[in-house]
Symmetry: C2
Amino acid sequence: MSRAHVSRADWTNAALEALSEGGVSAVRVDVLSKRLGVTRGSFYWHFENREALVVAALEEWERVCTTETIEQLDSIADPEQRLRVLLTQALDVEALSRLEPAIVAHATDPVVGPVLRRVTRRRVDYLAEAYAQLGHPPAAARRQALVAYAAYTGWLQLRSSAGAELPELADQGRRGTAARRHLADELVHGPG
Amino acid sequence: MSRAHVSRADWTNAALEALSEGGVSAVRVDVLSKRLGVTRGSFYWHFENREALVVAALEEWERVCTTETIEQLDSIADPEQRLRVLLTQALDVEALSRLEPAIVAHATDPVVGPVLRRVTRRRVDYLAEAYAQLGHPPAAARRQALVAYAAYTGWLQLRSSAGAELPELADQGRRGTAARRHLADELVHGPG
DNA sequence: TGGCTTCCATACACTACTGTATGGTCGGTG
DNA sequence: CACCGACCATACAGTAGTGTATGGAAGCCA
C-alpha cells in the first residue's frame, strides 16, 4: 500500500475516495497522508492547500464521469442504443454510487457548487438531445431527460444508503441486474 | 430572532437547518448558538453533547417526514388518490429538497445510517403496498415502488443542486408545477 | 564526487471546535 | 421575601486539523 513516491494523482484519487465515504469534510490532509503512508509534507509539496486538493478531485470527477463519457458515447450513432449504453453503464459503475450523492450533498459549498451545476447541466442537455433524436418534441424531450436523470441519481442514492436491505438494488445478483435493466428500459422508452 | 429562552426544540430545528445547508459536519454547537442568539452554555444545559443533538434532529426528521406523514395518508381510502397526494405533497415541500440529500450523503455515519435505512425501508414498503392495492403483483409493485422512490429522491437532489439553472425544477411558476404534476402522473400510473 | 532537483519528515504556530466547571440572572413559589 | 430551580454567560482545558519553515534523504547528471 505504501510506495516510495506518491504522485499528485495519488492524492487526487485518495481525495475522491474520502469524498465518497464521508463527503467534502472527510477530505482531510492528515487522514489521507496516513492512508497513503506518507506525512503531510508530501501533500504540501504537490498542492497549495487543502482547497486545491478538493478542486482537483472535483475536476477529475468531472473529466472522467462527464467529459470522457460523453466523448465515448458520441461514437454510437443510434440514439436509442446510445441511451441504453449510457444508462446501463452509469448504473453499473459501483464506485459512483457513493461519490455522486456525497458531492450533491455539498451543493452549497462554494467549491462544489459550480462544478456540480456544470456537470448536471451538461448531462441533462446531453440526455435531452438524445431524446429529441428519438423523435420527442423539444419540451417533452427535456422533461423526459429530467425525469431520467432524476431516476438515475436517485437510484444511486438509494443504493448507497440502503442497498444492503433492498436486494433489488444490489449491483450484483439476478434480481439486481433485472431491476437495473427494467429501470433502463423505462428510461429509454419513456412511460406509456 | 433572539428570544429570552431557547427550548430544546429550537436547538433541534436549528440543527435540522444546519444539516440541510452543510451536512452533518455543519451541525456545530458554537455556530448554532450564535445563530440562536445564546451561548453554548444553553446547549449543554439541554443536551448531553453534540452527538445527542444530531440524534435528536434525525429522530425529529423521521417522525415528521415519515411516521406522521404515513399516519395522515392512511386516512385516504383510495390507493391512487393516496399515492397522488403523497407524491405531489412530498415534491412540494421545499424544506426537504436540501435536507434529505444531505442526510443521504452521510449514510456511512454510524448515527445517520440506522435512521436512514429505517426511513427508506418504511417508505419503500409503504409505496409497494399502495402499488399492490392498485393491482400490481407483489414483485412488480416492489420494483415500481423502488423506481418511484428513486425518482422522488433524485428529483429533490436535482432541485437542490441545480434548481437555479433548470426552470422546470423550480418549486414555483408555471413550468415547475407542470413538470411536477407530470412526474407525479408517471409515478402513479407507471410506465406503459 | 559535488551539486542540483525532487520528494518527504519533523517540529512548530495557529485556528476552530468540543466539553467542563462555575457563577450569575430571573421568574415562580412557599 | 427568601429561596429554588431553570436557564444562560464566562472562562478554561483539551483536541483535531491546517498551514509553514526547515532540514534531510535519494537519485540524476556533470
